[in-house]
Symmetry: C2
Subunit: 331 residues, 2 copies
DNA sequence: GCAGACTTGGAAACCGCTTTCCCTGGAGGT
DNA sequence: ACCTCCAGGGAAAGCGGTTTCCAAGTCTGC
């Protein structure tokens, strides 16, 4: 591997000069020497050793993003938003996937801390377990104590800057919209009880129904993914409208309906949450609550990179989007 | 930031001993000292500085993956497969997205080289431009000259280990299957002419038709993504069967058909390529050529990490999967 | 023409860790 | 008892850069 010293030697200058020429410094270098160094670097095929740079500078140019599952369009959109923002800042991205294991999440924070990444983004719902959340907080605090910056997309439970989707309000609004279509008997494919995002959406939805004096919905718990929605849909009773707490679950539910010959929206209305980009190619088009996922990812990165002052929690409102998967109840 | 020296001091041992205890070494350390060091590290909240470790060891534990677009399920699946494999090896992953800009790809290789990552995975089709391919080759060669390992998923054009989907053969087989259903007038949504994957699939398809004595298909070029498929579908003439060279394009084409009231498969049959996981929730279910994407990603990582000997090129066969989006021509 | 302010180049300390090499003390062999 | 070995501990030399601190010009302005 060719080192800076090799370049300096070949160019007949000192290490310091070579460094100043090749790796952005505030100091000027004369045109003649600069050219010599650049030529030498080029001839030798020099590539700076970032590990050495990071060590010497005490700061790296990589950020870490931790998501649950990259193949889930929800996380992919969030991660993509953050990555684009990172790219414009000239930052590299390390991505970790936890596959929904909170231990993995903690381990990643520790690892990213060891890497001395500039910032860590935690994307995805928190779990309700105070013990595991506490440990994650500790690990984050340790990282921040060393000068690291962190932000999260999800709930404000970690003591870091947060982009928080308005899950309760969005779900409540959706409930009102659906009730406005004349539905009264609801089922909620509620995801896992301990997932805060899922619980909030479920609670917001149920709360709005109660406020309107409607009967409580049938609540069916299960995994937070496509197959979880598929399975939960099998257990729906006599509801005329099914709310899946996220879009991928709703997509699973639609599949279940299709297989059982239940027509959507004629026999049952279905709604989701998130407005993942793949929805536009589904039939029937899914009613949902739109979240600006890419922007949220990008915003989280901005927050993480911003000044370390007060902890910022940014609420992001969802927008109810009515599509063909729900129908107005006649009579 | 607490350093190893702090830990050593607190434990009352030398730097060397602390290093041996905390960061796996072949040398043994006495139980008493070992315990002291571990306790000190714990109390202080020590996290090794990986940049320093990388520098000292001359080898890092991160790998780089370069994909075109993470929000495309095709790349997401490939990346996920590779990332899972990496995780089992205890490796961290840096992901770069090029958004289909070959320059970006080259730049990423340079950056990952600077990071001295253990291996680089290039995922995605090559472009036919020999100049840009040459520069990418050069950059890769430089990286490998420094001891780096690389592999690619796509075409064997880079002089590195490659996992190569059998695009021509898969498309040819698909053509035969579709012809077997009685179709004779075909259109191909062919993607960009310079993308090797797209061109190969198109050529394989057309070649098989010719072999069977069928008329040449209508070839419509355009972007390699969903919207490209959507747009290209508008230009289809009197074909009874449309082959989109990848699934996301096919999905776009289905959307176009839907909007224009063209029924699939009654009015026109549609087929794609890849069998991305999201297909299972599309109506009508899309006929395609299945590629084991996750395995391919994992395999590419294995190849990259394997012994540097001979260059390995692994062909991966595709399997034609007939689903509801195609129909048999009667009469 | 000269003091003082800028520039520009280089020597060397340092970033935090690994690892070689040397040293010591105690176990094992005879 | 004596010598050999070996295990375990520490000092110190890197790893490849960055940056501080000097020194030696190079310009200014008077």
């Amino acid at each position: 591997m060719v080192t800076l010293e090799d370049v300096a030697k070949q160019a007949g200058v000192s290490l310091a000069t070579a460094s100043r020429v090749l790796n952005g410094s505030t100091r000027q270098v004369g045109a003649a020497l600069r050219a010599r160094v650049e030529r030498a670097a080029d001839e030798l095929g020099y590539r700076a050793n970032i590990a050495a740079q990071t060590l010497a500078r005490g700061a790296s140019n990589v950020i870490g993003i931790v998501v649950h599952d990259l193949t889930d369009p929800y996380f992919a959109a969030l991660a993509d938003g953050a990555m684009r923002a990172a790219a414009t800042e000239g930052l590299l991205v390390m991505v970790g996937t936890t596959h929904r294991d909170p231990e993995q999440e903690i381990a990643y924070v520790a690892t990213l801390n060891a890497q001395r990444v500039r910032a860590v983004l935690l994307v995805g719902s928190r779990v309700a377990d105070p013990v595991v959340t506490g440990r994650l907080r500790d690990e984050l605090a340790r990282y921040q104590a060393g000068g690291g910056r962190a932000a999260c997309v999800g709930q404000d439970l970690l003591g870091v800057d947060t982009v928080a989707p308005a899950n309760r309000e969005g779900a409540a609004e959706l409930a009102r919209a659906l009730a406005g279509l004349g539905h009264t008997r609801f089922a909620v494919l509620a995801g896992p009880p301990h997932l805060v995002t899922a619980a909030d959406r479920c609670a917001g939805f149920a709360g709005a129904l109660e406020e309107m004096g409607l009967p409580a919905p049938q609540v069916i718990h299960g995994p937070f993914d496509r197959d979880g929605g598929y399975a939960a849909a099998q257990q729906v009773g006599d509801a005329t409208c099914v709310f899946a707490v996220n879009d991928v679950m709703a997509v699973g539910a639609l599949a279940a309906c299709r297989e059982r010959g239940v027509r959507v929206p004629e026999d049952v209305s279905v709604a989701g949450f998130d407005d993942i980009v793949t929805l536009r190619d589904h039939v029937p088009a899914l009613t949902t609550v739109r979240l600006p996922l890419k922007d949220m990812g990008a915003r989280a990165l901005e927050l993480a990179l911003g000044e370390p002052g007060e902890i910022v929690v940014e609420q992001v409102a969802g927008e109810v989007v009515l599509r063909q998967s729900v129908r107005r109840m006649t009579a």
